[in-house]
């Protein structure tokens, strides 16, 4: 913190000036610099100065981008109306709980039969510590957060073709990989193969560090013993008394490890977006959208299917069907429009924008993706295998199994993320199956890792994102080429319309992409509205 607490008024003024002069992204960054964004005073500050009197904004879509845009515009004094296709707020910010009913495209309906307190997040499910926009809104709206376990050294890495198909603990793969690499590197160092790159003095330091990093013995070997078992675990853990003598475990060979391919998963937890600490809302990610929905109340009109968007030099009109009432052809009008409708759908809605934006909308393909949630009678992964949260990675079509990060020890039952499929062929194949078959396949494949599945499975539910009626896909799939050609045109104002959402960000699929895109868009909208004066 570079400013003392007594200076908060001038800080707010400063931020407000930055917001007006440079747009809300600059202001958002300035808030971070001032150590402000994560504080409770985030809301007091607000990203926008006061709205011109009478200025109005139509927000299309009540997902994270639309909700953030509407919330901040309303707080600044804009007259805001939101149109939303679903009967709830949140969009892809969504949690399925016991009693929920979900009908996918094609008409298949699933009833979620999970026990009270158990849930699955079909969409986003975790928040990196540096996604400060999301964390700030959770705090402002009173959404309780708890740690999300991403990296679990006791979860499995599994390949059908390695180690006879037997799942390996992450900690053994990591320890053995590091140990063998450290041994090879120290061998090269000691045989003077690296002398051209390493000075004599640095050589000794490098060797010390390799011994420490790789858990090598005093002779720079990675072998069965105390040092290696301290990383990879023991055959028999150290204990007390006469029965407490530990039994060391055997590292696997370098060749077996390399051929297993399991090393390919090791860096995942080191990626910026997956580093510790991650968070999740208590009770499901959908708590965020639900809280925004309560906060914005009657400003949101639900069950509204947009059929046309039309702008002229005075404002923007959206025509919609009221799906609940069965009526068609109603129109809402405002000075400006923040449109957050996924491009997969927006591309099908008549909207009079120019060629650059229209071409950008058409250029973005949508990712396939699929999740299956499975409820089990008991938490065998904890009780039998001591796996508390985290992710098992497998080359089976299910891709991953993730264990719940909450209610450890507390309840008898639990829900696993039983499939999380990105691989395009597999996710299309699973999408093409009836929902019950997806669940059955997830149980069948998962039982190759956890044989308890067969005995303990109770019920499941699946969400295939290309069958989701409100997105028709998972998220915008940019390539370097499409981004270079179309991204700026997608984000730029076209007349009185600006787009926002994860598709208008460099954080595809992350909610923080939606949040920062909304703040960026409304910052630019605000500048225009101020320039246009009262009434837009």
């Amino acid at each position: 913190m570079i400013v003392d607490p007594g200076a908060s008024v001038s800080r707010r003024r400063l931020l407000s000036m930055i917001g007006v002069a440079a747009g809300s992204t600059a202001m958002y960054q300035a808030m971070h610099s001032l150590g402000f964004a994560a504080e409770s005073s985030f809301r007091e500050a607000g990203p926008l100065s006061a709205a011109p009197k009478g200025a109005s904004v139509l927000v299309l879509g009540a997902g994270m981008a639309g909700l953030v845009a509407a919330y901040e515009l309303r707080n600044a004094g804009y007259q805001v109306q939101i149109l939303e296709y679903n009967a709830r707020a949140g969009g892809r910010n969504w949690t399925l709980r016991g009693g929920d009913r979900y009908t996918e495209l094609g008409g298949e309906t699933q009833d979620c039969r999970f026990d009270p307190g158990l849930y699955i997040n079909p969409g986003p499910w975790r928040l990196p510590y540096h996604h400060r926009g999301m964390l700030s809104y959770c705090k402002q709206l009173g959404v309780a957060l708890e740690p999300f376990v991403q990296v679990n050294h006791n979860a499995y890495l599994h390949s059908r073709n390695a180690f006879d198909g037997k799942p390996q603990r992450l900690r053994t793969v990591k320890a053995d990989y590091q140990g063998h690499v450290a041994e090879l590197l120290s061998k090269a160092t000691r045989s003077h193969a690296l002398d051209a790159d390493v000075t004599a003095e640095d050589r000794e330091i490098l060797l010390d560090s390799l011994r420490m990093w790789g858990a090598l013995d005093e002779n720079y070997r990675f072998v069965k013993g105390n040092a290696s078992s301290e990383r990879r675990g023991y055959d028999r853990d150290p204990g007390g008394g006469l029965s407490g003598r530990p039994a060391f475990s055997d590292p696997v060979t370098l060749s077996d490890l390399l051929h297993s391919g399991l090393w390919s998963v090791l860096p995942f937890g080191d990626a910026y977006d997956f580093q510790t600490t991650m968070f999740q809302p208590v009770g499901g990610m959908g708590k965020v959208g639900e809280a925004f929905g309560r906060e914005l109340g009657h400003l949101i009109r639900y069950n509204a299917k947009i059929v046309e968007i039309h702008q002229d030099d005075k404002g923007v009109a959206a025509t919609f069907e009221d799906l609940a009432a069965g009526s068609v052809g109603q129109t809402l009008r405002a000075d400006w429009c923040v449109c957050t409708i996924p491009l997969s759908i927006l591309g099908q809605i008549p909207m009079n924008v120019g060629g650059p934006m229209a071409q950008a909308i058409a250029a973005v393909l949508y990712c396939t993706g699929l999740k299956v949630g499975l409820q089990f009678k008991r938490r065998f992964w904890e009780q039998d295998e001591q796996i508390y949260g985290g992710v098992t990675y497998t080359d089976l079509p299910i891709g991953q199994i993730s264990y719940p990060s909450s209610r450890y020890f507390a309840s008898d039952k639990g829900v696993l993320l039983g499939a999380y499929i990105w691989d395009q062929i597999n996710s299309m194949d699973f999408t093409a199956m009836p929902p019950a078959e997806r669940v059955a396949k997830a149980v069948e494949y998962g039982s190759q890792i956890h044989p308890q599945y067969a005995q303990e499975f109770e019920s499941g539910i699946s969400v295939a994102w290309h069958r989701v009626p409100f997105t028709l896909g998972c998220f915008g799939l940019w390539t370097d080429a499409t981004r270079a050609q179309h991204y700026d045109n997608l984000c730029a104002f076209d007349g009185r319309i600006v787009l926002a959402g994860e598709h208008a960000s460099y954080l595809p699929a992350w909610q923080e992409g939606a949040v920062t895109s909304a703040l960026d868009a409304i910052g630019r909208l605000h500048q225009r509205a101020l320039a246009a004066g009262a009434g837009g």
């Binding site: 491009l343 759908i345 393909l365 497998t394 390539t479 595809p508 699929a509």
Partner: protein, 155 residues
């Protein structure tokens, strides 16, 4: 995977893609919302048009090929007059179309793993299947060579 070299190469590509470290066959976004697993997808080798439809196309175009309607829609392939042009169909499959993924090797985009690519033979097979089922009765057929030529020369 019977051939170890290939499976290792696939796994390596998965690692690189999963972390967004390089473009290769995947998107070059600086941040990915997820990392894939140890992808080692079983090869999708069928050249049977019905099999291709049921494993790939059916997800969106539906079992009866009547499409679906939500906030947006998937077009029906049943009784669809646009299918009169087999070349149009080939182009849509090769290059993608809005939220429809591209399946041609030159255009397909993966995410955290290899993209879904269909061969010219598979594309021809599924076009011929769809155009002769679901109340479609087109007599002309497309060949793999014709699909390859369209891919080479454009439509």
């Amino acid at each position: 995977m019977s051939e170890p070299t290939r499976s290792l190469r696939l796994r390596y590509r998965t690692l690189v893609c999963g972390l967004g470290l390089a473009g290769m066959a995947c998107i070059g976004a600086p941040a990915l919302a997820d990392s894939a697993g140890i992808l080692n997808p079983a090869p999708f080798n069928t050249t049977d048009g019905q099999q291709v439809y049921e494993h790939i196309c059916r997800g969106c175009h539906m079992p009866d090929a009547r499409g679906a309607i939500g906030a947006g829609h998937y077009p029906a392939l049943a009784k669809n007059p646009a299918l009169a042009s087999r070349q149009f169909m080939a182009q849509a499959i090769l290059m993608g179309r809005r939220n429809m993924p591209a399946f041609g090797a030159k255009h397909a985009v993966g995410y955290g793993g290899p993209p879904a690519v269909l061969s010219e033979t598979q594309i021809a097979a599924v076009i011929n299947y769809v155009r002769s089922h679901f109340d479609n009765h087109y007599k002309d057929r497309i060949t793999a060579a014709e699909v390859a030529a369209l891919d080479r020369n454009g439509y």
